[in-house]
Symmetry: D5
Subunit: 96 residues, 10 copies
């Protein structure tokens, strides 16, 4: 099942930079690990913002919640989830 | 170059239904024709709304404007374009 | 899978009242028919507004889209879907 | 009487983590205790957010205010209350 | 139980003026009739707008919904209901 | 002259709790003192929020500004003032 | 007493142009008549919009409501009233 | 040339009170000095808010920017500038 | 003096197409005529929208208002004007 | 390819002033360096705000993201990017 997820990251001024840097590395590791199993199908940056847009393909909403809340930077993210469904005009197989 | 495009369709009450139906068929034909050349990479419906989210891969902003304004239902659409760029954590080739 | 759905109904001034009345009857019939199979788990009115809040339990987002867009009053509705998941503190079985 | 309540939790960066963890445990204990008497009828998480949606069944607005403001995490919550009423199309008894 | 209700009236251009005038008279008659039983405790106009703010004292949310949706101008109103409760610092008896 | 005033209180995390508690007591004392002379005609809490709605009856806007800015919690309040006037359908004398 | 008033005019497409032209002339006549007695102290256009900002000096909110709702173009206006008071740093007498 | 300027002041909690008090005195001195040359034509407080509305008469936008950014409290202000022009119905000379 | 102007065009459904087409031609003629004297310095389309962003260089706000309100499509435009001033880091002469 | 970029700068209270001053100098140096190659075509200040509007001419969205995120003050900026395209009515060559 497909979900559109926008994540905006806001690191508060004064946050310990070593701690944040570590979280970013963890985040990157986790993001690169998830797409391998086809769950995190797409991931793009929004130009000029510390934000991204993703398409997730998960078996359930519970699974998506588990993935998102386990992201290392989750405490600094504002997340907006929008459920999607197939469009009859789409023919590219990766949009299934 | 990648752009995220959200289109919301608002058909005014009282619009000639035959005319609108024809526009919808034209729209569908055009949407199915464009993805063939890789321009309209993804197309999803937003659940419960007469709206969709697309990812376009075009050579220039001018080209995207030309495509969007030539859609048969364009006069009834509210469109929001967000430029995207590659995310270093994305590995799926279809997100290039 | 659980979804929170808010529907706001806006009937345009000048709409044919007989037609709208028929749509309302169809809507009511459909709303009463769906809960029987457990799909439309909850349905409440928002006090003072021509709007309601529902909880749907569906197998997929595609199924929810099919149900919502087939509602007789859909063309006059503004719909907002929010995916939900179980809360560990909830113990009432009807919230599964 | 039924009320729809959305709670968004915002824990400020730098808050004492031991204190917050204790508040979360207290919150969980309180949330699990209340539904037993039928007051806190439903409780769902919003996917991807530190937020939840509840349905309360209380005898008065004063009672609801007392419950909400006594939640351990109340100082970190943004709360929005919407009064509901029965929908004639709802037949499930738990929506009374 | 106390509710704060803001009503904004929007009469569409082109509406039959005789019909609207009749609705306004009906509305006035109904508004003057309700306060007698203490239900419609306060009613004020917002300066410069075709809008008003009311305080209702009703036994239930269902009762309030019944009153508001039966107002002759209801189809032309945007209504926002906010539940209130007693403030410990208020001593005037009419705020009970 | 009547004014509708909504006050939302936001106490910043980390504020000295003794100082805030003293301000709350001062606030309560002041709120209870003002209604005696008929200035602060009504005062209600908004259910589930640290916010209230008041109706002030003052001789001038300058007087209202003086009252509001002298409230002990004023530095932590977001205030929205809406001028009201009598509604011809209101008959309760306390709404004059 | 001073009030800041912003008026935005929206004439619906299809409105009878002769009727609207007459209302505009009436509006102009009324606007020119009121400032003579010092009530309508200031009147400016907002650049690029069919909107204006005024400062009214009236004895009461009721009087302001009477003036605004009697403007010929009132049915086509969206009006926002903000109460003002003297600023201690202002020394120009016309700002009293 | 006339500009409408709204300034909202937000002093962060924890700011050094002596420093802020000095800025306020500087601000007052500056505000009282400017109107003498006709630049800062009007200055009003918004009732119940730490905010004001001003009308500036300056020779250029650059001059206005220079004035506003040199205000002692500028770092704590949210400022919104709206260009105005003469309204043909205004006859008071101070609105030129 | 420099102003940033965003214009959004909304042609109502049902508007006489011949009349609108004529307005568009007039608009184009007028837009092409103005830049010649350096007033309408820049004009860009917003991708995917029936909207544009312009930079005007005018001697006064009154002049800008006169230009904008005389545009043939003005009755169908929502216009937002933002005053600009030179940025010390800009070196391109066309940004003066 | 042309992009409209609005940058709003928010320096948090309590930020180390020496550090911020250094960032501002770096920012200025970088802004003055970029326009030389035609990338940062225009740069204007918004009157009364710590914000600016720019027009960038870049070969790709990726390039723009690289420029914007490398600005020294980027961590304190809220940035909004809008893709533009040529308007057929524009004749000034610098708007290409």
């Amino acid at each position: 099942m497909l979900f559109h997820v926008r994540m905006d990251v806001h690191v508060p001024y004064g946050a310990d930079s070593n701690h944040i840097d570590k979280l970013r590395l963890d985040e990157k590791a986790r993001a690169q690990q998830l797409p391998c199993d086809g769950t995190w199908r797409h991931l793009w940056r929004i130009v000029g913002e510390y934000a991204n847009i993703s398409i997730f393909d998960v078996e359930s909403s519970d699974k998506l919640h588990e993935i998102l809340t386990s992201l290392p930077l989750f405490p600094f993210m504002q997340i907006k989830v929008t459920p999607l469904c197939r469009h009859p005009s789409a023919i590219a197989s990766d949009s299934d």
